[in-house]
Symmetry: D2
Subunit: 260 residues, 4 copies
């Protein structure tokens, strides 16, 4: 049976990639989009087939129109969107950022009550998702670990969200670990940031795009995980995986790596 | 309860590292060694406590002496050793190479009959083991993959056993995959070896020790797994994991990555 | 004194980048372009100021119009273009490919006669140019070397031109070197291509763009040079260097690395 | 003509490697050693041929005994040793650390007066030496640069001497450079150490030995230099180069990279 998908934010940059993705899949069907500023004469430009319903207002959406609510909207809209999806029996797949920890907790609680699956992922790029998954697994065997992330010079914040998420995942599982208290630095801060004893280093250089390395060391050996994102197009590989799996879940899951 | 361990090949280079490892663990106890050429006056030199039984001949071994048979012997001895262990209710953990595919199949069959656990691992280095495990998992999402292994210039054979094992693991899981039939090479063999469509490249240079990279590429992104072995001491991290888990298994497992 | 530049092929993709580059520099002035298919009403679109002469036909060019002939045209035109430049006292800077070894030799000979400088570079990306320069220098101290180049899956030929150029440069300088004649491969071709004993490995994966590594090994140490090209825009950094230096040369030089 | 070499500190770990090196070369001859605690019956053990003079006291040394003074002694002795060499017409090649900037300046001044060559190198590993040389050269074209050095977990100080030397060399040549003043960090110190705007990151992990990377970024491209030292044996490649070149110099040079 074909899974029916509604895309919220279908006119945005990521939304348009999502439309193209769903149009290209054989077991998923685009049945509706929510695009507040789109008009009927933009249908072709937005790659919407004649059978796709175009909504400008969330309130008008017929809940039967889709099984999955795929959200690439904006921080201001995402919480209400996901609540709407859960309230109306649609499984949310959310690539929009901006949910607070409290909002996420509320949405997860509601999804459990309704036994409704869903996925919220800050990063749908499969290379980043697998890197985080593998890092968490390797840290059980290699508690000594540091993270280096490298981004283009225009990125103004550091560390990257993915690097911080990776540090948090590792922190949850790695055995108790003593860092070196008697280290001496002759250049301040050269040992980088410190997240619960996990050192994090941020590199910013022109030419680079978005890259992350996790370095593990043990007696006589080392393990390195690296991912490179060259293009936001890479997000769609993870969206595809989420669309395949979301209807088999019975609660909202945070992090694509948790359903692989 | 303390697990009792017999080490076969305790006087060899790897066996000696194994003795040191078991001596350092708190939930495992070294109760016996098999060391055909060792004499009683070498006990101290071999790091054997007074309570450890020293056997020079397999036939003399009392099967009750140990729960686990840890084997670092030689290709000519390993098959009969593992059969002996299984026949006498000891769970084999085998780091010795040289078993044929047929011998492995027979031993697995026997272990199943007796519901006896065991592990045979060509490589106990956790960085290599995790690399293989992760590579197999990533290949489900990234069917485009190539392997580069790099070793010291004195290694005369190529590719390395680990690289070939990695290719086999990937081949078992990756989606059907078309390679580029219309590729043109202006320098023969520049595209490397080909294992069922997976390209394998072997580098041999002085200074290098033993390293392997698995490179995955997808639309707009890349994932790279890398492991470096600088020292055979690294094997012991995997032996420790095997000793922890082997008594919970109920059959002989090939590849440490399959019990993580 | 301002250097005057004519750009041949100013309407092409690389030519347009070159126009933007020259317009942005303070010691170089764009005085003319050769663009056979461009018309006067395209001047603004081609970023040509009112003082820039627009030629559609090489024969009409006034030799006094420029000191430097910057060529981003097509293989069929480049030889005659460079001869024209040399014949008329303009120093050629050539990014167009397609010259044969014989043609290059003739042009160099003519430039020497006329004491006229010039640069022909197959690759103007400074990361690639420096990689080649450094590789040639390192090979004097590290004769053991292998090359790995990695490109997107759509590249149909292997190895890349830069990799082959690097191998040639290394071959010219490295001390006599014995490769391992008694190597055994259990997977055919796994040791890669062989250029005079220098192994070359080509990787082709989606997601990758254009990357090259040169690996040197010596007793107890290794040196690795790597360059990544993410965008053809990178070529312009080398064009800038060539424009700065070409008028100080007194012959045509092949390879930007030879004038750094 | 054979160059005659005296090795000071010939009984130490590095000194012994130096003795083996000189014994293996065809154009250099070991004529004397200074080894305060060595006795005549240790000659064989120290690999000293019958013709090699063994001095226990610097004052006894006959200045005619050697052309080159190769010093692998201790910080407390090195300054007086190099002065002695210069005073007596021997060209010093110094691998001992511990000279202050003032002492180095004095020794250089004296060498210039006497037109006597010499080399003082904190690091004789050719991979590190070439890395520093190439980094300085690349920085002219790529002013955006960061350094990552990685060492074993037992190294208590950070950054490494080589990383700091690299930063200093780059700082001397790179064009004026503005760093990002409006950067926001959500994890303190994550951007690493800062040497005149050059970011330096130190990684400390078990398994690692001694490694350094210099990362350059430019529009659409990146250049990475990496060196790995696995073994102190690697120092001897640079000592060989210094022995070859030192008699052609007419002053004391700091840094092997300055005579390549």
């Amino acid at each position: 049976m074909m899974k029916k998908v509604l895309i919220a934010g279908a006119a945005g940059a990521m939304g348009q990639k999502a439309v193209a993705l769903v149009n290209s899949l054989t077991d998923v069907e685009l049945t509706a989009v929510l695009a507040p500023h789109a008009t009927a004469d933009q249908r072709a430009q937005l790659q919407l087939g004649p059978q796709v319903k175009l909504y400008q207002d969330r309130a008008q959406i017929d809940p039967k129109v889709a099984d999955i609510w795929l959200d690439f909207t904006v921080p201001a809209a995402v919480y209400e969107n996901v609540r709407f999806a859960l309230d109306h029996g649609m499984a949310p797949v959310v690539g929009t950022t901006g949910l607070t920890d409290e909002q996420e907790a509320q949405l997860v609680a509601e999804s459990k009550e309704k036994h409704l699956g869903g996925v919220i992922a800050p990063n749908f790029g499969m290379s980043a998702v697998l890197l985080m998954k593998f890092a968490r697994e390797a840290a059980k065997y290699f508690p000594d670990v540091e993270i280096i992330e490298m981004h283009h010079a225009d990125k103004k914040d550091a560390p990257s969200g993915t690097a911080l998420s990776t540090a948090k995942l590792i922190d949850q599982v790695r055995p108790k670990h003593e860092s070196s208290p008697d280290e001496v630095t002759t250049l301040d801060h050269v040992r980088g940031g410190d997240y619960h004893g996990i050192k994090v280093h941020s590199v910013r250089l022109p030419g680079y795009v978005a890259h992350e390395q996790v370095l593990f060391g043990g007696t006589g050996e080392a393990l390195t995980l690296r991912q490179d994102s060259f293009d936001r197009q890479s997000f769609m590989s993870g969206v595809k995986v989420a669309l395949e799996k979301v209807l088999d879940l019975d609660e909202l899951v945070i992090g694509l790596e948790n359903i692989l």
